[in-house]
Symmetry: C3
Subunit: 505 residues, 3 copies
């Protein structure tokens, strides 16, 4: 009975127990807090207690940079070789982050005697985490806003989907798109451009105060353009004031944007063997360890394991280096635009061009762009980085067979996309729908929407399922082969029904 109780205790709560244990032997000396932060905390623990409590749980409140710098390189969460003297000796509190680089921040304002930035940006975080910021800045994530906005093809797709529509003579008329809806849909993940348009007075619990008036705010999209010109929001993954590595390493974070129907990484993971074991056992794992030890700290990969964390084996040997350029371990871009292709060299993909002159990495019939994509040598190198993670738990033959399957799957489902493209081209050619040949929107009629689903939803889904070694039922019936097949029939039927009524009205 007593043994049962102890095991319940230990199973459930390690951290509090640990602290409690320490508390009994020796009280830890409180760490120095800057005068500015002290002032912030005094008010804000009353007015935004959630933020203060969150920060108190963060490592930022429990360490000082000068101590962090003394750690062995592999154990460090800080990549600067040194930090400014003003920061080195205090915990990283409110003012240490919100007071950085005021001259670069258009969102800086006078607040209770301090010059405060509303938004802490990657450039600010780079004070202590410069490598992470540099890597991130060249990733597709950092460029997620521009990649959508500056590319006329994607831009048309976006605007077609989220525009208001009205009805006129039984036809659907596409109207404008509001900034507010942009923020809540595509740019919720891709990020918004935050501008400062002056100051405004707002009513708060401490009375009327003057604050910068920000456009397209709040937003934590990965490609956010900040008031200091920097790209991205570290808080996309290291959420809010805990800046937690644990939260970032758990797949729930990635799942906010990478989910069905269009990028069902999360859905596929959840139904894979990896996801099953994560769900069953993750509460016993250590998501805070740096470096992160295969087998000891975790028993199956989460997204972060394969894509960006610093991974070592039980003997401390590095298996994969940390990276915040999230595509840098990837060779093929599964996400078809409209077919899979080698990863782009630059995170900024708006400069890619296919043979037909469209800003796409492939043509409508699958030919891959000649420039801007990584070459075979680089592809092979990256694949071996990834494969090296697999073989820590799987035999080499197993891993090899996995990659053979993935290659085949990409080829086959891209062919299924091609089949749908041929039906679309037929519809355009027969004037049953109006698209590119007519100089019209290629994304707004029923057969065009079905074509989009073929590559954006179903083909992508199957490729993700293959890449993550799992989710066979998902790739068959939920968002996969069944849908590819049914969708083709429905495109065919649509053409048939339309043809009977003559050409496009």
């Amino acid at each position: 009975m007593k043994k049962g109780l102890i095991s319940v205790l230990i199973l459930s709560f390690s951290i509090p127990l640990l602290l409690f244990a320490q508390g009994r032997t020796q009280k830890p000396k409180p760490l120095p807090i800057s005068r500015e932060t002290q002032t912030c905390l005094e008010c804000h623990k009353q007015y935004t207690p959630g933020i203060v409590e969150d920060w108190q749980r963060s490592l930022h409140s429990k360490t000082i940079p000068s101590s962090a710098l003394k750690k062995a390189e592999k154990l460090r969460r800080i990549s600067a070789q040194k930090v400014p003297p003003s920061l080195a000796g205090v915990v990283i509190g409110c003012f240490e982050c919100h007071g950085l680089n005021p001259e670069k921040h258009k969102d800086n304002f006078e607040h209770e005697g301090f010059k405060i930035n509303v938004i802490v940006t990657p450039k600010d975080c780079a004070t202590c985490h410069p490598i992470e910021e540099k890597e991130y800045s060249r990733s597709k994530k950092a460029h997620a806003l521009g990649n959508l906005l500056k590319n006329p093809v994607y831009h048309t797709l976006v605007e077609t989907i989220i525009s208001k529509k009205t009805i006129d003579k039984s036809q659907v008329i596409q109207r404008d798109v509001s900034e507010l809806t942009r923020q809540e849909t595509c740019f919720g993940c891709h990020g918004t451009e935050i501008k400062v348009s002056g100051m405004e007075s707002i009513e708060t619990d401490i009375g009327t105060i003057e604050v910068p008036k920000l456009t397209n705010w709040p937003n934590q999209g990965v490609g956010r353009i900040n008031p200091d010109g920097s790209l991205g929001a570290c808080s996309s993954c290291h959420t809010r004031h805990q800046f937690s590595i644990e939260v970032a390493r758990k797949p729930y974070t990635c799942s906010q944007c990478h989910l069905e129907p269009d990028v069902p990484a999360w859905n596929v993971y959840k139904e894979s063997k990896h996801g099953n074991i994560f769900d069953s056992n993750h509460m016993k794992w250590n998501f805070n360890a740096v470096p992160w030890t295969i087998g000891k700290d975790f028993q199956t990969p989460t997204c972060a394991t394969c894509h960006n964390s610093l991974i070592v084996n039980s003997e401390g040997k590095t298996i994969a280096e940390r990276t915040h350029d999230f595509g840098s371990r990837l060779w093929v871009r599964l996400f078809g635009l409209i077919y899979s292709h080698p990863q782009p060299i630059h995170g900024d993909t708006s400069t890619l061009k296919n043979r037909d002159g469209f800003p796409l990495p492939t043509t409508f019939t699958g030919e891959i762009a000649k420039e801007g994509l990584i070459d075979e040598k680089e592809q092979k190198k990256r694949r071996s980085v990834m494969s090296n993670i697999c073989i820590q738990c799987h035999s080499t033959s197993w891993a090899n067979s996995h990659f053979v399957k993935l290659e085949n799957t990409i080829r086959e489902v891209d062919q299924m996309t091609l089949a749908s493209t041929l039906l679309l081209l037929e519809a355009w050619k027969s004037n049953l729908a109006e698209g590119l040949p007519h100089g019209k929107n290629p994304f707004d009629e029923t057969i065009e929407q079905r074509w989009i689903k073929q590559w954006l939803f179903y083909a992508n889904s199957i490729k993700y399922a293959s890449a993550m070694t799992g989710a066979p039922d998902y790739a068959t019936f939920k968002n996969g082969w069944w849908n590819l097949t049914e969708n083709l029939q429905q495109m065919k039927d649509w053409i048939e029904f339309k043809k009977r009524g003559g050409s496009h009205p």
Copy 2:
């Protein structure tokens, strides 16, 4: 600091820890159990051990009302000022609940020498929890059964969906609906009316026994009509014999009914930043604390935080009062019927009337009913209650911008509903489908079903995503703008295909 540590400990796993602590220092005196309950337990620990074990984990088995009444008001889980003497000094066991108000219970029966009610109702729970019962009784939840059954529009929709269908001359013929299917579908959540139709003999492990024969049972729908005439089932959320506040506060409980495609609150939450942090960290939070402290007990809201729990800040100041009238903090009813509108004044919405005389809060083209909905002043008041919760963790500007977005989103997607309504009206006018103008069912033909999806699935979904500050991909591709847009095209196509074949057969 020490207090914080201890509270973290308690936060997480109070029961085992507490027992452990007690076990070492001093064995707790067993609490008095009534003679009746003792008798129940003796048999039932053999015949329904799951129930007995569940109860032993509940607070009901670990406290007595007279002790509970001694707690400070804010810490109490009991809202009565006093309880009947027969209950005050014993733990709340089987008989204390199942033996209450026998004269009002048509389901009361003689069982092994005791007069037992099969069902414990809100009126019974009100013995100790009168405020909760009173609040609940005026909520939409309490009236969920009548609101569906007594409203001819909703009733027709229900019956169209869950009726059996047969085929006659290639037409789909709608037949009757069985009570059993009603129980397993709409009324599984909305609640059934439980009647006693005499006694029946059943075979059990202790031989044949006589028990009341209940219709529409089992059911734990929120608007259940009980054999004592009361409305609701506390066990909908405070499940089974643990009566757990923890379970009720976790979003899984709400998710049983509030989920995609029609009320995707759960799906949206899961993909929001709040849901992400809940998933990552909730095992470290304290879901049993009363009152519930922002930042200390939890770091992101669950459904209960914003909608009904008693919330305080770290200094004990009340941020939001407890309520069991679940709509009472809400100003706008996102759930469009068929457009969003101010919250109804009464939980019983069957008396609402739109300008056209239909029992709906809005007309088909969006005009809001003149009576029965809360006024602007009340809307503003409620919005500030909710906003006050937001600003415990977010800046006032942040919260303000959030509400501006929500308002815009409601307006825009309601316009998308209107667009679909115009196509439906066109189909009716052209006799391509038969609906209201023909005195026929407006919910049974393909174009009518598409119209239903526009407001019931897609528009609702986007509004929920906006309200919960998240789920941008969900609101774009999964159950949102993509679907609104595609659905309009398909409605247009349907009209086009139908028109070619002439009017409705």
Copy 3:
């Protein structure tokens, strides 16, 4: 540093800590490891550390069979009465499993001086777990591959869905299916046939090595045909090298294959009251206890509770015997092919025949096959096994009413399938689609696909929701009555649109 290490320890592993706690009183003697396994471990802890760490967490590494055999029968996880002397005295390590029955293993190969099988099969596991293997071998799971491949109806369905398609003159042409896609879709769950086609050289971290070349590998499908001729993969559920009973008992394991849209057991469970309580409380339960005590070890059932675990009540009385023949507690087969029917007598269902001579348990219009299905007496017996589990936590009336509802639901939704079949037969009769009467594929045209969805997706879904006492919204709007109803209308419309254009081209 010390603090970090301790926190890693505690965070990650409760069991070692517990052992550690015990270790303070008395250090456990290390268990004997065979010389062979010792050799394996020396290399593999370097080359596949994930496997070694996993195994170290397994019970296999923490016990020896001769000790396990001393336990009381009900507490044993080993069903052999005795084990070979070579295994009895050592922990069950690498060689103890991968070195078994080499003469029967076509995948056996010389590896670093040892004769190693790549794959450990149920026949190998039967050395210590013979009853589990025997039960499993007669289950539908064990025959999942043959049941799909040897049945021409199912086989045609499979090939129609996962075949490549091309477009020719606006028609969709079905092409061949690749083995690799089979592995990643249907046979990912059902299992593949693994053959050895010689040896191959592969590059590894220790240089080039020779290993067996396996076809259709890797695969952990439940009906895998192994290189020793045995059926199944214990690792389907007792995943990888932890062989965990905990993982197998959690619903995440079952959810990998039993999920929406076709077998939405997982989706329904998640939205049921049982699933809600599991989600809220499971971290406090004991998923490793053998036997598994209702109320004490868990408070609501997971899949394993009702379908196969050894369940006892608090007094140790057996409530349900353990079985690895997963259908053996089931009387009705909810999964319609195409209607529900009594469970097959044998796990091998390829021999069933309906009255029309098709290898199906029912005819297209619902008549049940005369042979090969269990009789009423057996059905009744099995239902009472299941019902006996329900009444540990629910009253007998409650359970009775539940089963009445289930029976009604099966009848009603099977009628909804029949309605769709009548529309399909009409389409075939009118030559609007080509199917069985034309000697053509009955699964490839739009109306045929809609018919498949009626029984495979929607009818199944509702039956599962009914069987698991929950998920009313799911069974109404997500994958249920709404869909059954809408789908019938769309089948009707399709016939109407097709008729206007004359017969099939």
